[in-house]
Assembly symmetry: C2
Homo-oligomer: 347 residues x 2
């Protein structure tokens, strides 16, 4: 075991602070990564506050992890010491169920191991995330990271990136499609970038007029101010696909009305309260409301490779770890363009 | 114009009774059909009671119409006098929008003309349905009916049949799939028959133990008593597709839990109140909840041909039109196997 520095929440009420964490010595198939940057995801805040009711304390958040490999196990072939590497939302899964076999580890039928606030596959050992100096993970759950892209901007691809890439690929969104992105935050800005890159006509839907210029800068072709009934009316029945990144409660029926026949609204944000959906709004145009969860390991690597090839990264604000609570406060207000990333050197 | 006998509701409070209806003389492209049988759909009752808030009175319900052609317009080529013919839920649509051009007239972007409680494409003339002696409709909205099947059992195919056939075809349900059918009524019993015919493993989900034998007789391979938590638990995460025919309020989340990864729950019944859906229940397995509305004219004809080829019909109880209110009462209690059909000779 190695003692390393981390930032942890001791319970749902306290603030994050320094904590010494023990990491296992790398086994034959493990990779040890010295963490350089870790993205700040909205789910970090949900979980340290136990807003989903499943928190394990002490908790070291962080599942957008990039760094450099410092040790590898004796059986590791895919990675070398000194290379860049990443860890996303998962550090293990059962590897035996039909979903794991298909590379859909995020839907592991026996329960995957989240990178933090979860348990290893022994179902006993808690997992700790990337607000820490170092992580040890099985090679099959470690991602190869290109050295062609600015590393701090790559970190958020591990969650915000794959969470939007995966549904766009699953539903084959591309040329000839009209894609709307609801909400311009960490996930939304990546959805715009991927949608544009895949050839779709991308509209940003936002209730805030100030996002119009931002959306255009990210490549969005159109902007719809959702607080303006006229603008909403003008796009009724027009989108093939809406990617809904909003995790605050909102009226799904309104957005179902913006879909064309056979259109799909995909939720990647999960409001805590149930959505009230009129079946008529689905029936009237053979519409669907669907959900999508991050992505499996093969698709996450595919996404990272795609980003390296197409020079796609997240827009980030680099912070010192001591500023994490100020960052959370700003994140709650939507005041970040578009993802905070912790410089782990400050830990 | 021709005066014909019909049964109509004069307002939302009154019972149905005799009414004389005027039908147009057939134009060059019209077909005049002497109605022999008309199915009784749950939506008939919703609409005569104005439960959807859009009722036009006097109202002559009925959109599962079969009969014999008595006149054809001068330009009609597809039909001959003396042949059997049917009219389903639509008598016209704009025919110009992209959906109409694709044969998806049920999703006409300019508003289709429902067979009753609607307006013709002049957006002025009310339409009157099949609780009447005769109907005149454009040849493009008239279906060819095989003389190989018992005619009274064919009538419900025009709504209950196509409403379940269409989503099963759209989502390619067939061999290797596990299909669950929720609710064993007019729609549900057709969903079972089609699902079995398409090669799926079909499970009937019902809260009523008495439906077990019925489901088996219809061909269902399995039965799940939804009021028994143990039986529900045993089928968690097991279905590729659920066709939900229930129009009473019910908990969709419970049924989303029965879907496999990538599973789809399709609503063909529309409860008046919104469904409360937790986004997590969709996200957790890339699941969808979708809707589907009847079917277009080409697919309705395809379904009728399929039924003739595969000897599929609806199980019906033939009633005199004077017994319509007793039939509605029994329908509300689910006491019908599985569709009432009016013998129009009794009118």
């Amino acid at each position: 075991m190695t003692k390393i520095k981390a930032f942890a929440a001791q319970d749902a009420e306290s603030t994050l602070g320094p904590w010494n964490l023990e990491r296992r010595a790398p086994g034959p198939k493990d990779i040890q990564i010295e963490i350089l940057y870790c993205g700040v995801c909205h789910s970090d805040l949900h979980q340290i506050r136990n807003e989903w009711g499943n928190s394990i304390f002490p908790m070291v958040p962080g599942h957008e992890i990039v760094g450099r490999i410092s040790k590898i196990g004796s059986e590791v072939k895919k990675f070398k010491v000194g290379e860049l590497a990443g860890v996303g939302c998962l550090v293990d899964s059962c590897r035996k169920c039909e979903n794991c076999k298909e590379g859909l580890e995020q839907y592991c039928l026996n329960g995957s191991s989240p990178t933090y606030n979860g348990l290893e596959q022994d179902k006993k050992t808690p997992t700790y995330g990337g607000y820490s100096k170092m992580i040890v993970a099985d090679q099959d759950f470690v991602l190869q990271i290109s050295d062609k892209l600015p590393l701090q901007n790559v970190a958020p691809l591990l969650c915000a990136g794959i969470t939007t890439y995966s549904p766009l690929r699953h539903w084959n969104v591309g040329k000839g499609h009209k894609l709307a992105v609801l909400g311009l935050g960490g996930l939304g800005h990546m959805a715009v970038k991927f949608g544009v890159s895949f050839g779709a006509e991308v509209s940003m839907l936002s209730s805030s007029p100030s996002k119009k210029d931002d959306a255009r800068k990210l490549g969005a072709h159109k902007f719809v101010l959702t607080s303006d009934p006229e603008q909403l009316k003008a796009v009724q029945g027009s989108f093939d696909f809406i990617i809904d990144t909003v995790s605050a409660p909102h009226d799904y029926n309104e957005y179902l009305g913006l879909l064309r026949t056979n259109g799909v609204l995909v939720c990647v944000g999960a409001p805590p309260a149930p959505a009230q959906i009129y079946a008529f709004n689905l029936i009237g145009g053979r519409k669907s409301i669907a959900g999508s969860l991050i992505g499996g390991l093969p698709e996450t690597q595919e996404m990272l490779n795609y980003c390296a090839d197409h020079k796609i990264v997240s827009d980030v604000e680099l912070i010192d770890i001591q500023d994490i609570h100020r960052a959370y406060d700003r994140m709650l207000k939507g005041d970040v363009k578009y993802r905070f990333v912790i410089d782990i050197a400050t830990l």
